[in-house]
């Protein structure tokens, strides 16, 4: 006979089975350590209110999605984060990717560009053209987008402490192509706070960095109105080893800090909030990830409406890009990575991501080869066009398990946000090493659990077998460094150096004052000042930041 509730079922039907056949493990939990029940049922959703907690897609609190029709209108934007070598090398890869059916670009810059050093700087040794493309002057940027009309493509740029000069270069290339700033589409990451927490490409102390952030956002709002001028990123927080709840909380706590900073410079919340976007990870634990994205949407909507009193529904919307978890890739049996990436991508799509990057299977070895990135692109296309998952919005909405996990993650994240608030907000907490320490502890806990055999990683601690060596890895030609240095030397020879000095001086004056620095960056860029020169000016004015908490 059917049980009346879960308790009765547990004591009768389930108990009888467990006596005969015990479960595989004493405890079942998600990879973040959320303990799981055998089954979820109506009693797990006590007090659940459809209109309040879910609502229809496109309506507050947007748990089911920010758009009413989601992928029935248009499938997610497919982007592949890519860049290597010189601007010519990467331009070629972009043309290849666009030919494979991608509709948008995502620029990876080499580390010297991200940290404000030219290629001839001693700290740039060995890094030229690695992990991204070398961009030092407007000349490089012109080559990077050669024959790519900037009014037709949407471009995402992963750039943070040097966001202002790099965005200025993009605007300048647009102008040279005859595309007005108002017609540019894309995103800059411009999220400095997570750099201190997890990613590491900061230059200046948090407070002057936040000033550059707000300069960029307010400039874009006026001059480049379709641009997403910040992409608050939980991706790197998760990659550094955080739990899902920490990813939610530390992302949104940073988001809160940006919103507050923009309000503090005198902007109305509804003036800028609709241009805020997010960037999250999709990790291995399938349902936890789906619940995480849904919790992020609901929590951000509440924060914007209740905490910041935003009135415009677009200010409440949590729009996000997803990348599959790089940290889940293994060097052992690398083809398995295609499958891991596929279900991570599936989770993001089932949870209504706006855009997606799928990792390539060879990334535990090198920057992706053309063959590997093609497989990654096809994975997205297979999901979008063959699986049927794009036909119905939020297909898992109403699942007892998914709804219960969504609420559970939201509660846990709310607790972390309260803790960050009590430490004085995201910046003060970073200065105290709070987020860094929490993430390190979580990261180590997960590694221990794996090594103790509590968690299975196929091909690593179970089902281990020899595997063929991966071939055709991308190698960055050592000539890249020479070619890059030569080009910058040539630019320096041809440019009007007095004009460069004059624009750098104006940048310095603006940096010392309170006016928006973006126009000065644009002037420097158009005079072919190098990124290193601009950042040296800022280092002089703002000082530099050491690592807050190492170990």
């Amino acid at each position: 006979m059917a049980s009346k509730n879960k308790q009765e079922w547990r004591e009768t039907t389930l108990a009888a089975t467990l006596k005969r056949a015990p479960e595989r493990k004493d405890k079942f939990d998600t990879m973040s350590g959320v303990e799981l029940d055998t089954v979820y049922a109506p009693e797990d959703l006590e007090g659940f209110d459809y209109a309040r907690d879910l609502a229809y897609p496109g309506e507050y609190p947007f748990t089911r999605g920010v758009q009413p029709s989601m992928y029935r209108g248009r499938v997610w934007t497919m982007r592949e984060y890519s860049g290597f070598g010189t601007a010519e090398d990467t331009n070629q890869r972009y043309h290849y990717l666009l030919e494979q059916g991608l509709t948008a670009l995502s620029v990876a810059f080499h580390l010297p560009t991200q940290i404000g050093y030219d290629s001839d700087h001693p700290l740039a040794r060995g890094e030229i053209g690695k992990v991204g493309v070398a961009i030092e002057t407007l000349r490089d940027m012109e080559i990077l987008f050669e024959a790519i009309p900037l009014d037709k493509v949407s471009t995402s740029m992963t750039i943070n402490s040097t966001c202002a000069p790099v965005l200025a270069m993009y605007i300048a290339v647009g102008k040279k192509q005859g595309v007005a700033p108002a017609d540019l589409n894309g995103t800059v990451q411009n999220d400095i706070l997570k750099e201190y927490i997890a990613r590491g490409t900061y230059i200046f102390p948090p407070r002057p960095s936040m000033r550059l952030t707000t300069d960029i956002i307010s400039y874009c709002r006026k001059e480049v109105p379709r641009w997403n001028s910040i992409s608050v990123s939980g991706y790197h927080i998760r990659e550094a080893g955080s739990t899902a709840a920490q990813e939610i909380a530390f992302t949104l706590a940073n988001g809160i800090a940006y919103v507050q900073a923009l309000i503090d410079v005198g902007l109305e919340v509804d003036y800028f909030a609709p241009r805020i976007s997010f960037f999250q990870s999709s990790h291995l634990n399938f349902f936890e990830e789906i619940a995480k994205f849904r919790a992020l949407r609901r929590l951000w909507a509440k924060i914007m409406r209740e905490r910041f009193q935003a009135k415009d529904p677009r200010s409440w919307m949590f729009r996000f890009h997803t990348q599959t978890a790089g940290v889940s890739l293994t060097s052992q049996q690398p083809l398995n990575n295609i499958v891991r990436t596929a279900w991570e991508a599936l989770a993001a799509a089932l949870a209504g991501t706006q855009s997606l990057h799928t990792n390539s299977f060879d990334e535990a070895y090198a920057t992706p080869s053309e063959e590997a990135v093609t497989a990654a692109v096809r994975t997205q296309q297979l999901l979008a066009y063959e699986s049927g998952i794009t036909d119905v919005v939020d297909p898992l909405g109403g699942s007892y398990y998914v709804e219960s996990l969504t609420s559970r993650l939201e509660r846990e994240a709310t607790g972390y946000i309260a803790k960050v608030d009590s430490l004085g907000g995201a910046i003060a907490a970073i200065e105290q090493g709070y987020q860094q320490r929490e993430i390190q502890d979580a990261s180590y806990r997960y590694v221990r659990e794996t090594e103790e055999g509590r968690r299975i990683v196929v091909g690593v601690n179970e089902f281990v077998s020899p595997f063929p060596k991966i071939t055709g890895l991308l190698r960055v030609d050592p000539e890249v460094e020479r070619r890059q240095k030569e080009r910058t030397a040539q630019v320096k020879k041809e440019r009007d150096n007095s004009k460069v000095e004059q624009t750098l001086k104006r940048l310095e004056d603006l940096a010392r004052g309170t006016d928006n620095t973006m126009p000065a960056f644009l002037e420097c860029v158009e005079a072919y000042a190098t990124l290193g020169e601009m950042c040296d000016v800022l280092r002089k004015v703002f000082g530099t930041q050491k690592e807050f908490l190492a170990f």
Binding site: L111, P112, Q114, I115, Y117, P122, L123, A124, R125, G126, E127, K130, V131, E195, A198, R199, G200, T201, E239, A240, G241, V327, L329, T330, S331, Q332, E363, A364, Y365, A366, T367, Q440, S443, Y444, V447, T450, E451, V457, G459, V460, N461, K469, I470, L473, R475, V476, E547, A550, F551
Partner: protein, 133 residues
């Protein structure tokens, strides 16, 4: 003679900020009873050599995920030799293509541990090499 605690420098040469692996390894080595000094990110070869000498370590663990290892590791190994620390056991971790490993071994890197390597393997390797296992 029983050796004192093994002293390890875990270092991040180059500009990449991916320090999850380095921190996990540092903590695992510490839990395995070793004395661990972690440099933090963005260390130049010169800074790493100096720390290795100053801390008089037995082991130097280098973590690079940006692909700069072929340029940076030789500078570190050369520097260690010049400063009389050529006997330190040098091991590496990060994103390192298989094809680079023979060259790295010739340079004097004793082992390269890629993503997914259990920390227990690294602990065992160090103990074996130092005759402390």
């Amino acid at each position: 003679m029983a050796k004192d605690r093994i002293r390890v420098l875990v270092a991040k040469p180059g500009l990449d900020g991916h320090d999850r692996g380095a921190k996990v390894v540092a903590r695992a080595l510490r839990d395995a009873g070793m004395e661990v000094i972690y440099t933090g990110i963005r260390q130049t070869p010169e800074m790493i050599v100096q720390s290795a000498v100053q801390e008089d370590v037995d082991v130097v663990g280098l973590s690079v995920l940006s692909g700069a290892h072929m340029e940076l590791f030789p500078l570190i190994i050369e520097g260690l030799k010049q400063k009389g620390k050529g006997d330190a056991l040098v091991v590496a971790g990060g994103i390192i293509p298989d094809d680079d490993i023979p060259t790295l071994k010739q340079m004097g890197v004793k082992a390269a541990f890629g993503p997914g390597t259990p920390t227990s393997d690294i602990v065992a390797f160090i103990k074996k090499e130092l005759g402390a296992g």
